[in-house]
Amino acid sequence: DQQVKQNSPSLSVQEGRISILNCDYTNSMFDYFLWYKKYPAEGPTFLISISSIKDKNEDGRFTVFLNKSAKHLSLHIVPSQPGDSAVYFCAASALRAGNQFYFGTGTSLTVIP
């Protein structure tokens, strides 16, 4: 049973516009959420994280929003750049449950120049 879901397999955005990637989770014990970026034939690279005590975390062009009541998180990339084209995975873990990480199925982002 998929505990972390990314319902959009792909997303296309014009360069300079905002990219919004979404993620839903089912386990209310999750208290740490992350986004990873992955290029083909490379390992995932950590982008940004948020703990459950916050609802927003920013790092440069990347902002993650957490809505605990809706069990939903999103990643905003502003402005989008062609180099952002990659597959993005969200992940979640629960420290009290052994800190095992659960990943979504990924969203392939294409930023069109």
């Binding site: 990873y36 490379e42 995932p44 990943f103 979504g104």
Partner: protein
């Protein structure tokens, strides 16, 4: 900077062969993980380890085993490779306790023919 090194980027093996995938991390992390990534399925946890000689099954351990004889090294073993084990294999590590992102290696693309 954390470095997780996987010994091979590409491997081609025959059905029935015993396959060893090696992973080494240089940051003295207690936790190490093996995932496989398949299109449409995201990253799925095979095995993980919290300490030397300790191992825990993940979501899809069937057909795999692991070995952790030293803190920095975590090996994944395919006892008798099958074609359905053709996949991208990703090793990751993070420190024990608290919320900390996983650091991934570059992956091993394994093809079983």
């Amino acid at each position: 900077d954390v470095k997780v090194t996987q010994s091979s980027r590409y491997l081609v093996k025959r059905t029935g062969e015993k396959v060893f995938l090696e992973c080494v991390q240089d940051m003295d992390h207690e936790n190490m993980f093996w995932y496989r990534q398949d299109p449409g399925l995201g990253l799925r946890l095979i095995y993980f380890s919290y300490d030397v000689k300790m191992k825990e099954k993940g979501d899809i351990p069937e057909g795999y085993s692991v070995s952790r004889e030293k803190k920095e090294r975590f090996s994944l073993i395919l006892e008798s490779a099958s074609t359905n084990q053709t996949s991208m294999y990703l090793c990751a590590s993070n420190p024990f306790g608290g919320n900390s992102p996983l650091h991934f290696g570059n992956g091993t693309r394994l093809t079983v023919t």
